[in-house]
């Protein structure tokens, strides 16, 4: 939560730099065929207010999604149904037919919709790394060498399976978050990477990474990378270790090396 807020501050300081290409969408509205004309800081602030008022019930006050209601996270920089500012405009204006996403109140002006687009853009990960102190080239060497990161992480098809795929990590993590990930990996552990310790009714104890768990069953990857599926009725015990399996690099890497590694990770993003 706190990281999110810090990220917001950081991103807002960079937001004016973001410019997007022309709309690929064929629409009748002239406004939707144009670039967003409302991208200033004031527009972003106005858009935030509009978003909080009109959109936050389903998408969360900070646009990070509502896990109860199912409204998706809008801060990842990627949308399932739009790949441009004008596409996002269209979705906000018209909704997505057949889903719970309804169009904005027609009384809302195009300016209001564009301002919401600008706000969402400001919440997306920055396209600009900024003045990083580290070297991405050195960072890549550390990743494969001293850091031993590739043992657990896949990047572009190469690496281990015992941690998250980092091929596009910069699409979803900011500089400060990546630094925290390196030095304090337990700060924010996605439930996908918890460790489950299951005790089978036959007495066997199996540990593994939590691939999926539901009301009646679970699936895990054991240390030999076998995919195992269990009905909870088969189990005499179930523990969830919510700590990360990743070691902290706070001591094993120097501050400069951490900066190098972060600089490398920030190069890992989809082509825009």
């Amino acid at each position: 939560m706190r990281d999110r807020k810090r990220r917001t501050v950081l991103i807002r300081s960079l937001c004016g730099l973001v410019v997007v290409g022309l709309s690929l969408w064929s629409t009748q509205a002239i406004a939707q065929e144009s670039e967003n004309p409302f991208t200033g800081r004031v527009d972003i602030r106005m858009g935030q207010g509009q978003f909080e008022s009109r959109c936050s019930t389903c998408h969360g006050l900070e646009a990070t999604g509502n896990p109860e209601g199912g409204g998706p996270d809008l801060t990842t920089g990627r949308f399932r149904t739009a790949n441009s500012d004008s596409g996002v405009f269209r979705v906000i204006r018209d909704g997505i037919r057949g889903t719970a996403m309804i169009g904005i109140n027609p009384d809302a002006s195009d300016q209001v919709v564009w301002q919401i687009v600008s706000y969402l853009k400001s919440r997306s990960p920055s396209l600009v790394a900024g003045d990083l102190p580290g070297s991405p080239v050195t960072g890549q060497q550390l990743f494969a060498g001293k850091g031993d990161c590739a043992r657990c992480h896949i990047v572009n098809g190469t690496g281990g399976r015992l941690g998250p795929d980092l091929s596009h990590i910069a699409d979803r993590r900011e500089i400060s978050e990546l630094r925290t990930d390196l030095t304090n990996p337990n700060a924010e552990v996605d439930p996908r990477w918890w460790t489950l310790i299951v005790t089978h009714n036959n007495g066997a104890v199996i540990r593994g990474l939590r691939m999926h768990e539901d009301s009646f069953s679970l699936r895990l990857m054991d240390p030999e990378e076998n995919l195992r599926s269990f009905s909870k009725s088969q189990l005499g015990g179930l523990e969830r270790d919510k700590r990360s399996t990743m070691p902290s690099y706070a001591q094993s890497l120097t501050t400069q090396q951490q900066d190098d590694l972060v600089a490398y990770l920030l190069t890992l993003r989809r082509e825009q």
């Binding site: 389903c58 006050l61 768990e213 009301s215 009646f216 009725s233 919510k242």
Partner: protein, 544 residues
């Protein structure tokens, strides 16, 4: 006699003949006959049918059917599935009348199918404007029936009467102006010759009400506002003019006691949801249950669960009516597991508070005082920097139905132990726009929390057993005389539990999310259990 008059007379005589005929045809198939007021009052006596949203006027969502029971539930199998072409959340509880099932579909459509096969008779599509104002998806939760007419709420805040045999529109009444933020999603409730129906729009600064309409014509008979006007002393529970935009909607179906002639209905949040600074006071009658005269709508009593709510804890739960003994004395009670995480037993004749206890994780109150009023903890109001509170805005439970089994004496509730950060912000009211004054965020991924089916003793509020499921389920509960409890999970399981012990007896993975209540019925001697999952309505039964 004109040709039209002859035709009308012929139709009436055919209907009368139908009404007098036995309820089965020669081949044993059930035969649709008009649903009289007497049939509705005695709905529990014909458990093969499901004649109203909660099954019976007491809203126990309990069926006397016991063909499917603890001995054979493990053999349940799919009988049929009905696909809905819309992807919106599917929140319907179907009705079944003499072998015909009526299913509402998103956004405001209705279809009739053969309850034994799921194959269609007809479909009604309600034309909607493009500029709807709905807070939480394009949903509809079901219909009511009287005679041969079905009554349905629509998202553009209309009430429609539809012919049950053909699906034809009989009348279409505007209940409120949708462009001001009003909408309708709940199944109406029949009381004698009237259709009782509520309103949604608590996130748009509406002024809530409960209405009654003539079942034949759709003409409004009475309206009771859920926020009293200036001529009522309770209006002073709102600072200044804040009552005009105070919300207090009525967006779920209520209950009815024919002996007391009282309609019971829950009310939703005061508006704006999170900013209580602009509406100081208790904000009556938001977050309350109202007891209204069934003929006039006059208020007999009210009980407010959450005075001056700032967490969006609508008292939009189904009022469950049950006659039970409290401290050795028989009482006509109302059982209520509230979104604010407290369970209540009230005397439904007087509104007296009898029992109260937390049934789910909560951090906002020390408990309830002797009158059932919450004793608030300090510093739990929403703030600019965020205030962590349990339960979430979605609540410890919500609109999905609980169930009560007179056989076990237990109330079964789908409960959620969650937490959220609540934020406040300034917001001006603009007609037709959202008006919430804040919002919420989840501090952790949802997998850090859990839901459970909890069995509560209504005489004490004590937990008897619980069955944990993945957070957060949005499914209601059904109890049956087979001593089964049915419900669904957010991860797509439909399941049956032993009503006495909570032991799991059967489950089936169906993949889709469940946002509705299970119901049961029988056709030609075979019991079925129906559950909407994703955008499919599934029906299960025992092997042939």
């Amino acid at each position: 006699m004109t040709r039209g008059t002859v035709l009308l007379a012929l139709v009436i005589s055919v209907n009368l003949i139908h009404a007098q005929e036995p309820t089965t045809l020669e081949d044993g198939a059930p035969f649709f006959s008009p649903v009289t007021w007497d049939r509705l009052v005695n709905a529990a006596d014909e458990p093969q049918n499901w004649l109203m949203y909660s099954g019976t006027f007491d809203s126990q969502r309990f069926s006397r059917l016991n063909q499917i029971n603890t001995e054979n539930a493990a053999t349940l199998e799919l009988k049929w599935a009905h696909h809905i072409s819309q992807l919106d959340r599917n929140e319907t509880t179907p009705l079944v009348v003499d072998g015909v099932m009526f299913i509402t579909e998103s956004p405001s459509n209705l279809t009739a199918v053969d309850a034994a096969t799921g194959r269609p008779y007809w479909r009604y599509e309600h034309e909607l404007p493009d500029d709807l104002r709905v807070c939480c998806g394009r949903n509809n939760r079901g219909v009511a029936i009287l005679g041969e007419t079905l009554y349905m709420s629509t998202l553009d805040a209309h009430l429609v009467g539809i012919d049950a045999r053909s699906g034809s529109l009989l009348w279409n009444t505007e209940v409120a102006d949708y462009q001001q933020g009003y909408s309708k999603t709940a199944a109406p409730l029949i009381v004698k010759d009237k259709v009782i129906t509520g309103i949604a729009g608590g996130e748009f600064g509406i002024r809530g009400f409960l209405d009654a309409y003539d079942a034949n014509t759709g003409t409004r008979e009475w309206r009771t506002y859920t926020i009293p006007g200036p001529d009522n002393p309770d209006n002073r529970s709102w600072a200044g003019d804040s009552w005009r935009t105070g919300g207090s909607p009525t967006w779920i179906t209520g209950s009815y006691d024919p002996e007391l002639n009282l309609v019971y209905w829950g009310t939703g949040n005061p508006g704006p949801d999170y900013n209580g600074e602009v509406r100081e006071g208790d904000n009556l009658y938001a977050d309350s249950v109202l007891a209204l005269d069934g003929d006039t709508g006059d208020m007999s009593w009210y009980f407010q669960f959450t005075p001056h709510d700032v967490h969006d804890w609508d008292a939009i739960q189904i009022p469950v009516l049950a006659d039970i003994e409290i401290d050795g004395t028989p009482r006509k009670t109302m059982l209520w597991a509230n979104r604010n995480a407290f369970y209540y037993t009230l005397d439904r004749e007087t509104g007296e508070f009898l029992v109260g206890k937390a049934f789910a994780r909560q951090t906002w109150a020390e408990g309830l005082d002797e009158n059932g009023r919450p004793i608030r903890r300090p510093n739990m109001f929403p703030s600019a920097e965020g205030t962590l509170v349990s339960p979430t805005a979605g609540g410890a439970t919500n609109w999905w139905s609980p169930a009560f089994s007179p056989r076990t004496g237990l109330l079964y509730v789908n409960a959620f132990d969650g937490e959220a950060e609540f934020f406040i912000r300034d917001e001006e009211y603009r007609a037709g726009d959202r008006y919430t004054g804040g919002g919420t965020d989840s501090p952790l991924p949802i997998d850090n929390y859990s839901s459970a089916i909890r069995a509560l003793d209504p005489t004490t509020g004590d937990l008897q057993w619980e069955f944990p499921i993945k957070a957060r389920s949005r499914a209601g509960v059904l109890a049956t005389a087979g001593d089964l409890v049915f419900s669904g999970s957010v991860d797509g399981y439909f399941y049956a539990l032993d009503a006495v012990t909570g032991e799991e007896l059967w489950h089936i993975p169906l993949s889709g999310r469940m946002n509705a209540n299970p119901m049961t019925y029988a056709v030609d001697g075979q019991q079925y259990v129906t559950m909407p999952v994703g955008n499919v309505v599934y029906t299960f039964g025992l092997p042939d």
